[in-house]
């Protein structure tokens, strides 16, 4: 008798919204949470543990080595050079932002075939990274390794009477890195252009009108209207560029395989883990990358909280103004 009553009440409870909330939460979150734990948090925990160990390929009998792995990363020039290489990409992304901003502001002005230009400039962003890399292998060189110099770029240069250049030259890592940075800009710039177009178009047309009345030329217009309005986005992009520069992987991995002094931090990590099978050291590298990313993210959050607060204050001001206008009317 008693048991029956309890059962019924459980059943009843099960159909109340409280009960439903509980079982729906459990049911809906089960799979995503299991996946999150197994493929993100457990590996992250392992990563930190392994980073203090010397491990062989099979993880048999790992030895605790303290901070030795971290010391290797920052003292062994073979590893430390990858930080230097990421500077190329950092500088590259500054150039990328400037060019993207220029193209975006042109695309926002009165111009024919806007859609076409926008589409062409954006399309590389959607292309398969391996395809892009092979296309540029051909762009800089020709034929099977050892590569000859009759690539597309040299053919273009010859049309202008310029002597061919050895782009992929082991003796000139600076040039090779610059080439790779160029490929990276080529691939990713379209995205920035679209972002900047969105930002520029969200500027109030009243400002432009006022600007035209004052007889400003396009450069003044950019300097005093467009630039201040999109400054937050530019600074966000530059912060994200740090993240991007340290995590460069695909393009150099496919085009040069990290040879010719073009190895990046992530390429080195992957090589250390899967070619040299030094999982401990590789884990330490992954942890270093994680720390850099956390710092960058904190900086970004900190700066953007300020921005959004300013925005909120301004919109409140506008609202108050509108209210008072209404009141006056």
């Amino acid at each position: 008798m008693f048991e029956k009553k309890q059962k019924r009440s459980f059943k009843e409870w099960f159909h109340t919204y409280e009960g439903q909330k509980l079982y729906v939460s459990a049911l809906f979150l089960l799979v995503p949470l299991v996946l999150l734990l197994t493929f993100t948090f457990v590996p992250a925990f392992n990563m930190i543990t392994y980073s203090f160990q010397e491990r062989d390929q099979f993880g048999v009998d790992p030895q605790f080595v303290g901070f030795d792995n971290y010391k290797t990363i920052f003292t062994n020039p073979d590893y430390f050079i990858t930080f230097k290489n990421s500077l190329y990409y950092l500088v590259g992304s500054v150039v990328q932002q400037i060019v993207a901003l220029l193209l975006a502001s042109i695309l926002c002005s009165e111009i024919r075939a806007k859609g076409f230009f926008k589409g062409v400039l954006f399309f590389p962003y959607l292309m398969n990274g391996v395809a892009v890399s092979i296309i540029f292998l051909r762009f800089f060189t020709k034929g099977n390794p050892p590569l000859t110099q009759e690539g597309t770029l040299n053919s273009v240069l010859q049309m202008f009477g310029i002597d061919p250049v050895r782009w992929m030259d082991a003796a000139n890592p600076v040039l090779v890195n610059c080439c790779l940075v160029f490929v990276s800009i080529w691939r990713y710039i379209g995205f920035d252009i679209i972002m900047y177009i969105g930002a520029i178009q969200s500027i109030s047309p009243d400002l432009y009108e006022a600007c035209d009345l004052d007889g400003a030329n396009p450069f003044q217009r950019f300097r005093y209207i467009v630039f201040p309005s999109i400054k937050p986005i530019i600074s966000l992009q530059l912060i994200l560029a740090v993240k991007g520069a340290i995590s460069v992987f695909e393009i150099p991995y496919i085009i040069t395989g990290g040879n010719y002094g073009t190895s990046t931090f992530v390429i080195k990590t992957i090589e250390t883990a899967f070619k040299k099978k030094q999982v401990g050291l590789a884990s330490a590298m992954a942890v270093v990358l994680l720390i850099i990313i956390i710092i960058v993210t904190l900086v970004q959050k900190f700066m953007f909280r300020d921005e959004s607060e300013v925005e909120a204050r301004e919109s409140a001001k506008k609202k108050r103004l509108k209210m008072s206008e209404k009141g006056a009317a």
């Binding site: 111009i111 080529w186 992957i270």
Partner: protein, 287 residues
């Protein structure tokens, strides 16, 4: 006075003309930089082996034959790559939409300590750098027996995709709770609310996620390269990579393969252009 006024006007006019010319010039140069590397690939794809070796990169092919494309498609395994990529895309998209909307629904609609904690976990996970995490993910994937199966990339694409959950959450916060409440008044259960109110209303967000997913999975190289070494499991990216990592490279066939692999992207881009611009940008801003 009048003359001076006119000359200022004329100056302004010619100044504007110069600016306009400069604008178009910049755009045309930009487009050439995009086009030239690709056009060379396209021309090369139509040449036969001898012709390819002996002609300049900008020389037109003698005949527009599709022989290389045929070779790349069948012998060069582009067909296989497209098929495998298609399967992986389909399953992972379905998985992401289901788990992503469900997670977003619970986190966004049932406010409480538990759901807030879960939200925090997901946000924390966005910090972890994907590629270098593979150092330890690899061990787990192979321990689970997923190595060299399509499940490895599928599970990673579904299980570590936090951006999608974020987009769904953002979108859900704009769907009024009063919709849910009126359904509750009518006696609908929460699962019912999810399936007949939330899911249909999330359609635009789902479209955004599908676009982002397509671009990232179709172009992903590292996950399949690491987890699917089996010849039968080649995907678009790894098929192309295989070409250039072999010792003898038939460039004209490689180029044909590249063109074939770009065509699906081009078709999708041309047909969904507007949604792609807004989708990708909204996806990144919330990152």
């Amino acid at each position: 006075m009048a003359a001076a006024g006119r000359s200022i006007k004329e100056q302004a006019k010619s100044g504007r003309l110069v600016v306009t010319v400069l604008k178009y010039l910049t755009l045309v140069v930009g487009c050439l930089v995009v086009f030239i590397p690709i056009v060379v690939i396209l021309l090369g794809a139509f040449k036969d082996g001898k012709e390819f070796a002996n002609t300049g990169v900008f020389e037109l092919p003698k005949s527009w034959s599709f022989g290389n494309f045929k070779t790349a498609f069948f012998e060069g395994k582009v067909l296989l790559g497209l098929r495998n990529t298609g399967i992986i895309l389909l399953v992972s998209c379905a998985g992401t939409i289901l788990t992503g909307t469900m997670t977003a629904f619970v986190i966004q609609r049932f406010d409480g300590y538990f759901t807030r904690a879960v939200k925090g976990l997901f946000l924390l996970a966005t910090l972890l750098p994907n590629i270098s995490m593979q150092v330890t993910v690899f061990r787990i994937v192979s321990k689970l027996g997923l190595y060299n199966t399509m499940w490895a990339p599928i599970i990673l694409y579904v299980g570590t995709d936090i951006i999608s959950i974020y987009i769904f959450m953002q979108f859900l916060s704009q769907i009024s709770v009063s919709l849910d409440e009126s359904a509750i008044m009518d006696g609908a259960s929460y699962p019912r609310i999810y399936f007949s109110i939330i899911l249909p209303n999330l359609t635009p967000a789902i479209a955004t996620v599908l676009i982002i997913k397509f671009v990232s999975i179709y172009n992903d190289f590292y996950t399949p390269q690491l987890y699917m070494q089996n010849e039968k499991l080649l995907v678009v990216s790894t098929v192309l990579y295989k070409y250039i990592s072999s010792t003898t490279i038939k460039w004209e066939v490689v180029f044909a393969g590249i063109i074939l692999c770009i065509i699906p992207t081009l078709v999708i881009f041309l047909s969904l252009q507007k949604y792609i611009y807004s989708g990708l940008v909204s996806g990144s801003v919330k990152e």
